[in-house]
Amino acid sequence: MAEIVTRAPATRPWVSGVTLLRVAIVLFALVAWEVMADSGLFYRGVVPSLSAIGAALVKLLSTGDFYWNVGVTAEEIAIGLAIGGICGVIAGLVIGGNRFIAQAFEPYLYYLGPTPKIVFFPVMIMWFGVGGGSKIAMGAVSCFFPIALSVAAGMRQIDPVLIRVGFSFRANAWQMATKIYLPAMRHPIVNGLRLGLGVALIGTLLAETKLSNRGLGFLVIQAYNSFNMPLLYAILVVLFVIAIGINAVMARLVRLDDARRN
């Protein structure tokens, strides 16, 4: 008779090693920061204490002015993303759907995509003025390329059976786009939008730091000009949290979509 071997359930530690290490790194970074702030190695105020940054953060988040500026930047990014996104999706559908057009024009998209877009800002100012228009244009130009390339690549990965089904039903170009291509390409479109949103955010905010009198980018450069270092750190913390948070949420959406499809 086979002997039944009973194995004691593995005891899980209360806190995992990974969590402990993460906490240790964060604590070390905070302590190192405080030591630097008190060391006198840096010019006065360049590395403010954590309490000063915390106070600036609380003050920043409790003023209505901050949220108004967040609203201005969010509006510019949203409009820029909408314009660049729609143009990018259309360009991606056209390029991805036709081999000849792809061979003729995709190399330009591919090589222009990673160029530094901020150098176009002087041109955008001339075309759209010093107000919100030039910032929206920067956002639109920045996000157009990753979205177009992602959609074009996604278009080529559509199951040919779906396309044949569309043709067998004699679907016209609009029906093919709305009933076959777009639903089949939800994943690359969302992924393209995730990449596009990241670069649109950077493009818009950089433009605001260069020439603006409103928005989060303006707040950053205003804090720098008045040498309000705690406020500068506080705004950067908020910006990084927003950017990383948005990226994480979009990435989660893509993963959820993947899981649902599989």
Partner: protein
């Protein structure tokens, strides 16, 4: 046979692509000359082409090019050394990898270039500010690709190393690193692209240094053909850079 005859020749798409670009420029030239487009906003394309020679000779392009290239090179060297070292450490110590890989990925999506005012305070309006920002912006892809490349080393290669009783250092330099090199180079190439983008962007934003500053200066002088020519020049340099690094990556993978 019929399909082969109907297929367009290989050169046709390239001609159509280039021809479309030329057609757009000719169209803009005509519209500007007719007054349909304000020439104080969009200069004549022919003026832009002619101003290339003027910008190259009068604005000291070779010196600016060398300065931008030097900043890119310094940032690339830094991100290669630190990125590969950190990636190798994360691969070697699993706990560090589990704890920090998500953070590195999150760091990759952080708009670090927006911290340029902070870097101005820390390092002054200098080359160091540009190099440090470019270095930090390009670091995450190198770390992540190094970890990916080292992790993907085939088990059989590692076992061969063990059978020869290689020391951990020999195992790394003779087995893991050569095997992971193509993937690591993908990360280095991405990092170099981020570095170039950030170098030019910060030069433009802080009005200091090479090619980025040139665009800012010409725009502030309201030298419209010069500004457009300088922008085109920067875009061309970027494209040449991407093509060269892409070829290098393909060569390394082949």
């Amino acid at each position: 046979m019929t399909t082969a005859r109907l297929a367009p020749p290989n050169w046709l798409p390239t001609v159509v692509g280039l021809g479309s670009g030329v057609l757009v420029l000719v169209g803009v030239e005509i519209l500007v000359r007719l007054g349909a487009i304000n020439r104080f906003i969009v200069p004549l394309p022919s003026e832009i082409v002619l101003s290339f020679a003027r910008v190259i000779t009068e604005e000291d392009i070779p010196r600016r090019l060398v300065q931008t290239a030097w900043e890119c090179l310094a940032a690339s060297l830094l991100l290669t050394v630190f990125g590969v070292a950190i990636g190798a450490l994360m691969h070697r110590v699993r706990l560090i990898r589990l704890a920090c890989e998500t953070w590195v990925a999150a760091f990759a999506s952080a708009p670090l270039v927006l911290a340029y005012p902070l870097f101005l305070v820390l390092f002054g309006r200098s080359t160091l500010t540009i190099i440090m920002l470019a270095f930090l912006s390009g670091l995450p892809p190198v770390i992540l690709k190094t970890v990916e490349g080292l992790t993907a080393t085939r088990r059989v290669l590692i076992n061969v190393g063990r059978s020869f009783k290689l020391t951990p250092a020999q195992q790394f330099w003779k087995i893991l690193f050569p095997s992971a090199l193509p993937t690591i180079f993908v990360g280095i190439r991405l990092g170099m692209i981020f570095a170039l983008i950030n170098v030019v962007a910060v030069e433009f934003l802080i009005n200091f240094g090479g090619l980025g500053q040139l665009i800012n200066e010409l725009a502030e002088r309201y030298d419209l053909p010069g500004t457009y020519a300088a922008i085109s020049f920067v875009v061309l340099i970027s494209i040449v850079f991407f093509i060269v690094t892409e070829r290098a990556e393909r060569w390394l993978r082949s």
